[in-house]
């Protein structure tokens, strides 16, 4: 699994102050809404009271005139009783009969006497309640005129509500400004405080992300926070973790080396047997030459025997040198490499009584761009693995199939199948993923080789029982390796 750093992701030192900012914003909105709502209610109550006082007085004054439908008296009363020097200005007052026919208005040209009050105008009023309209900046109030308990007329009063609405606006902007300043101040403070508090966490985060990307390194003492003992303890713990992980890595490498040496030992033992066999014949031939060298036929047969024995030894040495040369063989893979592998496995196959078969594309002598050294090593490891888990008398196949872009090199056995651990090693894409119990190191080394040469490793159960492990080698292998680097 790869950990990627996204530039757009907000760091914790930004997220937390941002959260504080949002929270403060939400609180500001809530407080502002409550204050404005309260102010609005207060203003409407004030308007209600003020308009009630005015309309009560007016109502009492115009009752006789309304009963007589005396337009002049009503007009004169409206004119004389027009409120002055109060906070709200009266825009217009209309007195109608119960059928909403205008008896008089303080602006007769707008509301002519004896005209029917426009329904649209009347719809702005709610009975006995002051209404504020923020769009027109007007307040509306209607009051019925009663005489002996009976409604005889109505008063419609329109007030200039601009001072109220202006006050609301002023309060709103004051709240907005104050809250904005407070929020910014608190958020800035929060930003710096949180940034300082979580700075060690960021360092830790960076190192964890690096570790996840395979670059495990300890936190330097310079990065240790001053005066934050908790964070320092965490850093120390992380560094100990890094130390132990690095030691583990070294251990793995040592084990791998030892494994290789062990494999080499096994092969050396096999080689000794291979050399020993012709050596016995060759010593006999030398004895024969010593005793009966004067006989031409005997001498020729002995020399021929010695020659074959020496050739056999030469092949074994050559194959071993090709596989275990310290510097990896830079040449391309050839048919001979498969034969060498078979030669090197011979002793182990005989010991395990397992048959080994190689299936290659006919006539092809070389496989361009496939590095011989690493592939031989991988083939050898896989085959040794397959032989080790195969039953006596079973078969192991080494097959190379070529398709358009890849060589598929497969080792197939008839064994009991792969366990969970080997399968995990094959499928894991983590470079430092090493088996906890250090088992399957051979397989792990094959995976390392694959990673090195840009090949992929896969495993599957075969229908007849057993396992097929495949190396998928790109035909343009070297370029891929170069690209991967």
């Amino acid at each position: 699994m790869k950990f990627k750093r996204h530039k757009w992701r907000l760091s914790s030192s930004t997220k937390l102050p941002l959260l504080v900012l949002l929270l403060m914003g939400a609180i500001s909105v809530l407080i502002s809404e409550r204050v404005l709502s309260r102010l609005s209610n207060g203003q409407e109550e004030y308007l209600q009271g003020l308009s009630s006082t005015y309309l009560d007085g007016l109502s009492a004054s115009v009752v006789p005139a309304v009963l007589r439908k005396d337009s002049w008296e009503i007009f004169d009363t409206l004119d004389r009783m027009s409120p002055k020097n109060i906070r709200i200005k009266l825009v217009e007052t209309i007195v109608t009969d119960t059928g909403n026919v205008v008896l008089a208005a303080n602006k007769p040209l707008k509301h002519p006497t004896l005209s029917k009050l426009a329904a649209e105008f009347g719809s702005r009023f709610v009975a006995d309640r002051a209404v504020l309209d923020v769009e027109s900046n007007l307040g509306f109030r209607m009051r019925s005129i009663y005489h002996q308990g009976k409604e005889v007329g109505r008063i419609y009063a329109t007030f200039d509500a601009l001072p109220f609405l202006q006050e609301r606006k002023n309060v709103f902007y004051t709240l907005l400004f104050t809250n904005a300043v407070l929020t910014l101040f608190i958020a800035s403070f929060g930003f710096f405080a949180v940034r300082r508090m979580i700075a060690p966490m960021r360092v830790l985060e960076e190192h964890f992300l690096d570790a996840a990307s395979g670059e495990l390194k300890a936190i330097s003492r310079d990065e240790f926070p001053k005066g934050q003992s908790d964070a320092s303890r965490m850093f120390d713990a992380f560094n100990k973790l890094v130390e132990s992980e690095q030691e583990r890595g070294k251990l793995v490498q040592n084990l791998a080396r030892e494994e290789r040496l062990a494999g080499l030992g096994r092969l050396a033992s096999g080689m000794a047997h291979e050399i020993n066999n012709p050596l016995g014949g060759m010593l006999n031939a030398v004895d024969t030459l010593e005793k009966h060298g004067e006989k031409v036929t005997t001498r020729q047969r002995s020399i021929s025997l010695i020659r074959r024995g020496l050739l056999s030894i030469r092949d074994i040495v050559k194959a071993t040198l090709a596989t275990y040369r310290p510097e990896r063989d830079a040449r391309d893979l050839t048919r001979q490499d498969f034969e060498d592998v078979a030669l090197l496995l011979k002793q182990e196959l005989m010991r395990r009584k397992v048959d080994f078969f190689i299936d290659l594309p006919s006539k092809r002598e070389t496989f361009p761009n496939i590095p011989a050294g690493p592939v031989r090593q991988a083939m050898l490891n896989l085959c040794l693995n397959a032989i080790s888990i195969s039953k006596e008398g079973s078969d192991v196949f080494l097959t190379l199939v070529e398709d358009e872009s890849y060589y598929n090199l497969s080792v197939t056995d008839n064994g009991p199948g792969l366990g969970e651990v080997p399968l995990a090693i094959i499928e894991a894409d983590d470079k430092i993923q090493v088996p906890d119990d250090m088992s399957g190191l051979g397989l792990w080394m094959v995976r390392e080789i694959c990673s090195e040469i840009g090949a992929t490793l896969s495993a599957k159960e075969v229908s007849s029982g057993g396992t097929e492990i495949t190396l998928r080698l790109p035909i343009s292998g070297k370029e891929v390796v170069k690209d991967a680097a």
Binding site: S71, W72, D76, K107, P108, L109, T113, L114
Partner: protein, 293 residues
């Protein structure tokens, strides 16, 4: 036998007390004689709510008559006429129409002169922005009258409509009384009424005093000239010295500073000798309407 002597002489103390009481009583009688009052009524012909004007009238008349002047104002012509006829007032400045109505009980004292003549006109006015040419265009209006006992503010228009074969109720959609000529102008200027009948003298004077108000009206028709609203007294009181003194004071008003001040307030040039014929026009209209009704 002892004789009883009846002492009929005053003691000094009794004399002093008695003469003091007599002196106080005599003084109070003398004071009452010199503190005669003239109760003078004003109809809302003009700016009767103007306290400075009322003060100027009182000051001049008290100075000129040496009597205490009690000015009485009422909202309607009818109230002033009733007070006069019931002798609760000694004299009053009323309209020509009630004078004609109660001519047998009333005596002309003086007739104010405006622009040098004791006559005035009635104006038919309408809102400034209305496109109207004559009285016929006012049909269906809401019309403002001044007072049912006013010549210029009611009678003239009714007589005019009567001559046209109609009546105020039929011709206008609605009429109302404002009980002051100035209020007629206010009603028309504001648009409360589309037209109104008003005293020409008041309209002209207000044009000078309150041009903004008057500028929102236009004169549609001017009537013929009628006798200016006169100062009258009951026939009984007109013979008294107080009223004769008042009459003389009115005639002499252009000759004193306070008189001129009063006339200036009233925009009048003086007071003319009573001439009943000045009111023949009003009488003719009353007769016309009486016959018509």
């Amino acid at each position: 036998m002892p004789s009883i002597k009846k002492d009929t002489s005053f003691t000094r103390r009794e004399f002093i007390i008695g003469s003091t009481i007599l002196s106080l009583f005599a003084n109070s009688i003398a004071s009452a004689a010199s503190e005669k009052t003239i109760r003078f009524g004003l109809t809302p012909v003009f700016l009767n709510e103007d306290l400075e004007l009322l003060s100027a009238i009182t000051s001049y008349l008290e100075e000129a008559t040496s009597h205490k002047i009690i000015l009485t104002t009422r909202r309607t012509y009818q109230e002033i006429t009733a007070l006069l006829l019931s002798e609760q007032l000694d004299a009053a400045w009323i309209c020509g129409y009630p004078y004609i109505k109660y001519q047998k009980d009333l005596e002309l004292i003086a007739v104010p002169e405006w622009n040098g003549r004791p006559e005035y006109q009635s104006y038919l006015i309408a809102g400034k922005d209305r496109k109207v040419g004559n009285v016929d265009d006012l049909i269906g209006d809401i019309h403002a009258y001044s007072d049912p006992d006013s010549n210029s503010g009611y009678l003239v228009t009714n007589a005019l409509l009567h001559k046209k074969g109609t009546s105020s109720d039929d011709f206008f959609k609605k009429t109302f009384f404002t009980y002051a000529h100035r209020n007629v102008i206010r009603a028309v200027a504001s648009g409360l009424a589309q037209s109104g009948s008003v005293d020409g003298y008041v309209w002209e004077v207000l044009q000078e005093i309150d041009p903004k108000l008057v500028s929102r009206t236009q004169i549609l028709e001017k009537s013929e000239f009628f006798g200016f609203p006169p100062i009258v007294a009951t026939r009984k009181s007109s013979k008294t010295t107080e009223i004769q003194t008042l009459q003389k004071a009115l005639f002499d008003s252009p000759n004193s500073a306070s008189g001129v001040k009063m006339l200036k307030y009233l925009r009048l040039s003086g007071f003319a000798q009573p001439d009943v014929q000045l009111f023949d026009g009003i009488a003719a209209q009353v007769k016309l309407l009486d016959n018509g009704s």
